[in-house]
Amino acid sequence: MERVDPELVEFDVRTDEMLINMGPQHPSTHGVLRLVLRTDGEVVTDVVPHIGYLHRCAEKIGEKISPRQWIPYTDRMDYLAGMNMNLGWAMTVEKLMDLEIPDRARHVRVMVCELNRIASHLVAAGTYGLDLGSFTPFLYCFREREKILDLFEEVCGARLTYSFITMGGVTGDLPPGWLDRCERFLREFEEVIPELHAVLTSNEIFVRRTAGVGVLTPETAIAYGCSGPVLRGSGVKWDLRRDGEPRVTRMYEDYDFEIIAQHEGSYPQDRDDYPPVPPEAVLGDSWHRFYVRMIECVQSIRLIRQAMAKYQGCDGPIGEPIKLTQKLPKGEAYLETEAPKGQMGFMVVSDGTAIPWRVRARSSCFCNLSVTSEICRGCLLADIPAIVGSLDIVLGEIDR
């Protein structure tokens, strides 16, 4: 079905518009998001997102403690991708200190970050199925994610809030035998991907629920500062792993991977292992946003395999984390990394002491969420979960 234009829908009976609070305790607003919907029957005429229910003053706390002490707080921002949050903050402080990390630590970082990207995308795919009323893919996705969490547990002892990547490297080397277990997971996961495509990506009802729903044009996406899969789903080939500043791209410099962006119905049609783009799908709709994530998982697998090979091939130190009370040089630094949900930026301003003078986090989900009122206007009530779910927001990161 095409999107319903409220102008074109005729009503026999004109009733008053109804204001509905969707959330903050609604099952499909992914946490404590509150959407105020102005509805005319089933048609939503206006959507206003309200945030702030998960605000924990993380940035203010960052001004009271040293950068290494603040790492656990970054874990709790995008709690589905703690490694990537750690990475963003660690690299920002490294930039301020002008610190270089050994290659071995770099490859470990790539491994865990890409694993966490898969985990994050799995949650996105699973909960997206849930938003559309499909329960089973959720369990399949979480089963796979569970294996990633097991791997992380071996690495750092934590399953969700890792604090593993620190300034100067990582907190410890990989345990013996971990690479084999990681490889086993990758093999298992590769077998599951077609299953997920069958129950979600190419499922007839799924396509009808998502194709053409919540179309985000590339111009709008750029204007709102969208990033990550949301931006790439709109056809903009922009990924900080390739397009970021040198400190970020150097992390991936000798890696071979593709940036997944949808461009007018072309991308994976020459590939047999991905389901084709359905004819109903419009560039920048919910289906494409979902699809980009699914294919990014495949690219992450490639990256992890390369990182494992490189890690085995390089001897040397794993890097020494900085001291808890390490004095920071005077100055400021801002760095954006490519987190699973988009560009995660951290800023640190230092006055020369061990405690930063100002800490700031730029959230990708915040910008991604801000397009909601733009792209939800005129959709049906049932499309709201479909659109919000496809943006894949985490309120912990938005509110901080």
């Binding site: 509905i20 099952p27 009323g133 089973t136 049932a382 499309d383």
Partner: protein, 388 residues
Amino acid sequence: MADYLVQFGLPVWLAYGGVALMQCLILLTIMMFAAATFTWMERKVSGRIQDRLGPTRVGGRFGWLQSPADGIKLLCKEDLMPAQADKILFRLAPYISFCASFCVFLALPFSNGWVAQQLNVAAFFILAIAGLEVFGVITAGYASASKWSLYGAMREAAQVVSYEVPFGICVLIPVMVAGTLDLVAIGNMQQGWGINWMIFHSPFMFVTFFIYLTCAVASTNRAPFDLAEAESELVAGFLTEYSGFRWSVFFMAEYGSMTAVSGLAAILFLGGWHGPIPIADLLGLTYSNHAILGWFGELLGACNFLFKAFLGVTFMMWLRWTLPRLRIDQVMTTCLKYCIPLAAAMFVGVMLWTYALPGGILPRKTPMAAVAEAPAWTTVETPGGDRP
């Protein structure tokens, strides 16, 4: 049976009243048992589909006692009612739904003559009564004084009332072939080998069966048509404000309807209480041999019927745990643009087929053993006799 009691000098009102009460109790037990079993099964089936175990703690390895445990939990819950709710309607709504769902069983035969009240318009009665269930939902949605509930209720009203039309046509097609609305008679017509089943009457009938299934899922509000309680959109739809015992009454009504529409499918399309092989006839379990043997034959038939109904419910569960939910406009499109025209076309198709090939194309096989003689209190239909 009531007549039998009257012969012994009981007053007519007492005899009939007592028998009616007994039948109601039996049916209620069956319905409760079905609801409990299907709840447990739903958990197990969903567990298996989702690559997990399902309940394993209560009642041994397979969690047999999960349903009673849930029941006790629901009964012990605090009785909550929103302050703004319409008190009377809020209390009444679950029972309207439950009564409608329950009354369907009054006319649903479990085996030849095993029916609480054999009506000569049973199919019509079931359609009419099953349609009443929507009133309970609408009442619940209105009385809850919640916007989500109201949405659920309005969706239910639009959806169920629309699906009544193709559902009705699909029921009408076997009825047209059988030439009667009496479900016992329709069931008896399909006696013999599985090839006599209504679903194999013609290719059109075969298609009708699947349209019937689609409409049955939609009119019982099961996924992927569970828009009235779509939990990712409407929190819980019309059930949002319900909890505890009232919620469980709605729940039983839902499982009751699932069983009822599956049972109706079994009678109308899948041979009712007749298996694919006429075992009862082959073994001589007929009334013509002995009353007790005949009774056992009927018992076998009832098991057969319940098994088919059970298969139908399992199919619905399978759908629920596999498919995403449709959007309201897509649900209505499915009904108005596909189900109704298809059902109507099948109606015409079956009509022409019956007219052109009165004997059918498949050879009809009569049971090898003696033709079952139904007890005097049922309509006797000799197999293959009246069927066009």
